[in-house]
């Protein structure tokens, strides 16, 4: 049986169906998780999908971090459960302090939606090991509050510890400090990414299939796990 990867649906999640589809296309079993249900249903990994959980009220991701399912996600992530937060999921991971820094309003004030070139900067995480280091990929980007900010000390630490997993290429789309598109925690099991790999898994519906390795990476990580 293939690995079970949970996808959490919050009120206002948009990309949960696409995330589940990306998991299936990549060879995993997608398991629907509900924000109000404090049960991870024995999943081996979790994806926090994009969207506007709780209407982005207060701050993006600020209310989602207190959802019953998140108390378990936070607890298990701290002991190695692979967790990928995409877009709003990245915001939730930062609000939950599983990842440092924060996502703020795009510096140019506009919501941006385009195919975005990225460079993979680390293949040492559960979600990026199936890429080649330095590989350039194109996947969709769509956000209004995607500007990654952190203190200079944190930014230096992220680069020194090889925890910046992807950078924007061909222009910074949202004012993210040092062109950061995605980061990981120290252990490499928790990854946050602002662009959307789940929308780039099939030629018919995406610009590329460059998103697939994020999902095959975690499947390989789980196979290799003791």
């Amino acid at each position: 049986m293939s690995a079970r990867i949970g996808v959490v649906t919050f009120p206002g999640s948009l990309d949960d169906a696409d995330a589940a589809r990306a998991i299936r296309i990549s060879g995993g079993t997608a398991v629907a998780l509900w924000h109000g249900d404090a049960d991870l249903h024995s999943v081996d990994a979790v994806v926090l999908p994009g969207g506007f959980s709780y209407g982005d009220y207060l701050r993006c991701g600020a209310i989602a971090k207190f959802a019953p399912v998140m108390s378990l996600v936070i607890e298990k992530a701290q002991v190695g459960l692979p967790v990928l937060g995409i877009c709003n999921g990245f915001q939730i991971l930062c609000e939950s302090h599983l990842l440092p820094g924060a996502l703020t309003r795009n510096d140019h004030q506009y919501f941006i939606c385009r195919d975005q070139k990225l460079r993979i900067e680390s293949t040492d995480t559960a979600w990026t090991k199936d890429f080649a280091l330095g590989q350039e990929i194109v996947i969709p980007l769509k956000n209004g509050e995607g500007g990654y900010v952190a203190s200079e000390a944190v930014l230096d630490e992220l680069f020194a510890e090889n925890r910046v997993i992807a950078t924007y290429q061909g222009g910074n789309p949202n004012g993210s400090y040092r062109n950061i598109a995605g980061i990981s925690n120290k252990a490499g099991n928790v990854v946050g990414l602002m662009p959307h790999p789940e929308h780039a898994v099939e030629a018919l519906t995406g610009p590329t299939t460059d998103g697939i390795p994020f999902f095959t990476s975690v499947l390989k990580s789980l196979v290799g796990a003791p």
């Binding site: 701050r59 930062c94 609000e95 440092p100 703020t104 900010v149």
Partner: protein, 81 residues
């Protein structure tokens, strides 16, 4: 009854695109000499009884955990008992 007002502002070093957009609009509408605009949030919380003891401590804690994000924001809390 106690009224608690919590003002939340982005830390000075964090770029505030909304404040910058408002600054531009003020200039376009004829207000000269605008040096800087920062946009924040205000929460007005009305409570039964006096705010003291554990409840005051919890509210102070939640102002830093829910109402604001300490990574990018500062808050100021004032109580009118």
């Amino acid at each position: 009854m106690a009224r608690v007002v919590v003002n939340v502002a982005l830390k000075p070093e964090i770029l505030d695109p909304q404040g910058r957009a408002v600054q531009g609009a003020l200039g376009r509408l004829g207000l000269s000499g605008v040096i800087n605009v920062r946009q924040g949030k205000q929460f007005t919380i009305d409570l039964d009884g006096e705010l003291e003891g554990d409840r005051a401590d919890l509210l102070e804690k939640l102002a830093g955990e829910l109402l604001s994000n300490p990574v990018i924001e500062d808050f100021a809390l004032t109580v009118e008992n």
